[in-house]
């Protein structure tokens, strides 16, 4: 489903990812619409930043409003008023980061929803069914990922990689069952996730395993979970020698501008991250040179300029001043977080556009 259009000397490549909705030009960054919407932003505003596809969270949407209701309402596109492609994650990362009292077995994961206390079961099959019911266009295989606890790391990491592979095969089998009667052009894509933490042998094993299956794309999971920049870049450099040119490569959860650039220059095509919107809501924005600026400081109070004079985002172009944004942040008006989110999203889209 992926077609390379051109490759640059610096290691980056530009291409196109076909899917059942609209082809997406790579490299691209997906804003995170956790519960069906990018917080405070309308879908049209998200699209205006240059976003071609959204990531929505299986874990959150399963808990509320639930995939059965979303399906009844016509699927995620209709529900969240978004025409472009939607990728759903597998739920695995949220189980790891949010769920209470989770128990991982070969069958899958059982955990308590922190909000309701309700017991939830998630297995590779269940994850496929949920994502399919939601109406996702890019479905992620259910994976097992570890944290960076160095004590438990080594053994747990091996176990996690092997389980991720077994779960990938179960994900593929369930996906095939669900889509058996769907013509190829109407079928969602399925991506597999390579794990292996910071262990190169495990990583190589995992990337090669995932690429040997029938998945449409290779995702790199388990990075950007607390390791240092050098460690991440070292791993990305190593991985870049292993990629199958025919498969699209998706680095999950990465959104720092310098990491985005480094990954693109090492053959990565796709990204998602909450950073631009979460930082934006808290008043932190990127300005030219990947510098961070805190809009809430006293220094902004009388600054009539836009967030960044060199920026072409809606917020900077419309005449919203740093002074007004600071005032609105101080006043607790969510409009400030929205306008800063738009700026940050555009910042990352512009990086992708430059490479395309």
């Amino acid at each position: 489903m992926f077609k390379e259009v051109k490759s640059h000397k610096n290691g980056a490549r530009a291409g196109q990812l076909a899917n059942r909705v609209t082809p997406v030009n790579t490299p691209f960054f997906m804003p995170v619409a956790t519960r069906g919407a990018v917080k405070i932003l309308e879908p049209t505003e998200v699209a205006a930043t240059g976003a071609q596809a959204l990531l929505e969270n299986t874990y959150h949407l399963h808990l509320a409003p639930g995939e059965k209701l979303v399906k009844k309402l016509g699927g995620l596109h209709k529900f969240s008023v978004w025409d472009g492609p939607i990728l759903t994650d597998s739920g695995g990362f949220q189980v790891f980061s949010l769920a209470h009292a989770r128990k991982i077995t070969e069958e899958g994961v059982v955990f308590s929803d922190p909000a309701s206390g309700r017991k939830v079961h998630l297995t590779p099959e269940k994850s496929m069914q949920i994502q399919y019911d939601l109406g996702s266009d890019i479905i992620m295989a259910f994976d097992d990922l570890t944290g960076l606890d160095p004590a438990k790391q080594k053994v747990r990491e091996e176990e996690a990689v092997e389980r991720t592979h077994r779960w990938l095969l179960r994900s593929i089998a369930e996906f095939k069952k669900l889509t058996a009667k769907t013509p190829r052009a109407k079928r969602p894509l399925l991506f597999g996730i390579a794990q292996g933490g910071l262990d190169k042998k495990l990583r190589q094993n995992s990337v090669e395993f995932v690429q040997s299956t029938e998945v449409d794309g290779l995702a790199i999971g388990g990075l950007s979970v607390g390791e240092g920049t050098t460690q991440m870049h070292d791993m990305l450099e190593f991985l870049s020698t292993l990629y199958d040119p025919a498969k699209v490569r998706y680095l999950m959860g990465v959104g720092e501008p310098n990491n985005l650039r480094f990954a693109i220059e090492h053959g990565v095509d796709m990204f998602d991250c909450v950073l631009p919107t979460r930082n934006g809501r808290h008043g932190t924005v990127w300005i030219d040179g990947d510098k961070r600026l805190n809009l809430k400081t006293e220094k902004m109070a009388a600054d009539q300029g836009p967030i960044d004079k060199t920026c072409d985002c809606y917020t900077c172009k419309t005449g919203y001043s740093r002074a007004l944004l600071r005032h609105l942040f101080k006043a607790g008006d969510p409009l400030a977080g929205k306008l800063a989110s738009i700026h940050n999203l555009r910042y990352l889209q512009r990086i992708c556009e430059t490479y395309r």
Copy 2:
């Protein structure tokens, strides 16, 4: 500055209020941009509901960011990215409703800012200076208003009306001083406020006094502060016999659709109210027939329809379903409150348009 264009059999009239920015067609409703912005909404979104003018709050803007800073930044229009006319209230109502430890003397009011504990003095002269520095297009005279405490009511009400009149004369004098060198076409308008609670004799006295001065408009203050609908309507009916046809009439703080209609049919031209936006942020919307609908209820969960099929607002036209709005309210996404605010603002603008 006001020109009546036509009057209807039902008592309503349509006209135009000239001002230094853009003429406003009456009757009209002003959304409340307390701190320089209508919460969560961009100025363009506010304008798209049909709003021609905004009300901004002197009390809040004086406390933060302060009129001196707003002036330095080019005034409220530039600061809040709004081209249309801006009316600022006098601060009197907020002193009455928000301030702690307030003390009223003939000179003015001293109170503590609940947020900072800072002591603030407000006098007719000070209120004029603040509004002038903010860059307001319609300045309200500083008034003294009472609550509805029946025990203190009578004596206090008389005192408040008389003081309001003396403060009006001081407001006019200060306004003249401030604008002495400004050509007439560039001068803001000044409105006086009639008080008198539910006492018809006091009200008549007050309306006649305000209309006898040089103010550009007559505002009715001290209604919609807790009295019943019948009492309010009875007073509006009484007042409608006293109006000077040459002066625009502004009923402060009224925004319930039935009250808006009743007031328009009894000669009122202007309104402001936080109700459409405050209710919207809490999930309550008006639907056809002035009925209230709570978007947060279980009944909305699977409702694919818009808030109101008969509505022409942006939210209803764009395809946002009751189900999505309920989901976003439950998820705590401010986008829901924004979209409901837009709907409610449009609801009131449509009423005004019908009468125009």
